[in-house]
């Protein structure tokens, strides 16, 4: 809350969103600001609706199963599983967004992005240590790095489709 005030950002009722560690600030405001953009609010709404919708469908299947439809038992467990997937996927998407936002503060196009999944970081580390050029792996790695760099550039321009949409 103090941080937001210090940065001169009057964000009513937004304080609850800035969990500890989430209020990383850069450029135009705190990193979590993107969460209250209209586009993201629409995604939040979609997620809430689909979460409760899937739980409701699971409940419906449970009632069908209890009234003798044996096949419904499978769906009784499947719908809550999908609802759980939605929550996990959503949480991880937002986590990744924060990482991209933080990485975006200092990263130049050819800098090592700090927000890659660990496995890819591992691959990149291998590339750094083995300076052998021109085999298949390296070509693919170059292509992948170029792809990530293009994503970065695209995100900086509009962020619509690739990175932050």
């Amino acid at each position: 809350m103090e941080n937001a005030a210090a940065a001169g950002n009057a964000v009513p009722a937004g304080d609850a969103v800035s969990a500890p560690g989430a209020a990383q600030e850069f450029g135009s405001g705190p990193a979590w600001r993107f969460l209250i953009q209209p586009r993201w609010l629409a995604w939040h709404l979609l997620m809430v609706v689909s979460f409760w919708g899937m739980l409701w469908l699971g409940d419906w299947q449970l009632h069908r199963a209890l009234s003798g439809n044996g096949l419904s038992w499978a769906y009784t467990f499947e719908w809550p599983l999908f609802a759980g997937f939605a929550v996990v996927f959503w949480a991880r998407t937002i986590r990744d967004e924060f990482r991209i936002k933080r990485g975006g503060v200092t990263a130049s196009p050819d800098a090592e992005p700090a927000d890659l999944p660990a496995r890819i970081v591992g691959v990149r580390a291998v590339q750094v240590s083995t300076a052998e050029p021109a085999d298949d792996e390296d070509e693919e790695l170059t292509a992948y790095n170029a792809y990530l760099a293009r994503l970065n550039a695209e995100v900086k321009r509009h962020g619509r489709w690739h990175g932050l949409g």
Partner: protein, 114 residues
Amino acid sequence: MKTVEQAVLRYRLMAYVTGTVLIVLCFVGIPLQVAGHPVVANDVGVVHGILYIIYLIFAWRLSRMLRLANKPTVIMLLAGTIPIMTFIVERWITRRFIRPALYGDAPSAQAVRS
């Protein structure tokens, strides 16, 4: 780049398997069910339910690796529930995201080609 390639292969495998089973379900199972033989639809339906869970996991992991935005990610995940869509979406994801990531094909060149 083995990790990305593996993620692509797993996604593709599940896209084709799930898509095929879904086509069987919708174009064989459902007509038979309407005709009074629900066995195929019931069994294939359960199989598709299980396959779709695996499809979701692999598609999600690839989506994270390619850093897809929300919209293409959701399209990719839901494609496994709509007949034929898995095949269409797999081609689109390949052209738009997988090939640029693995082989460096520029998206603009892809757009011209398609």
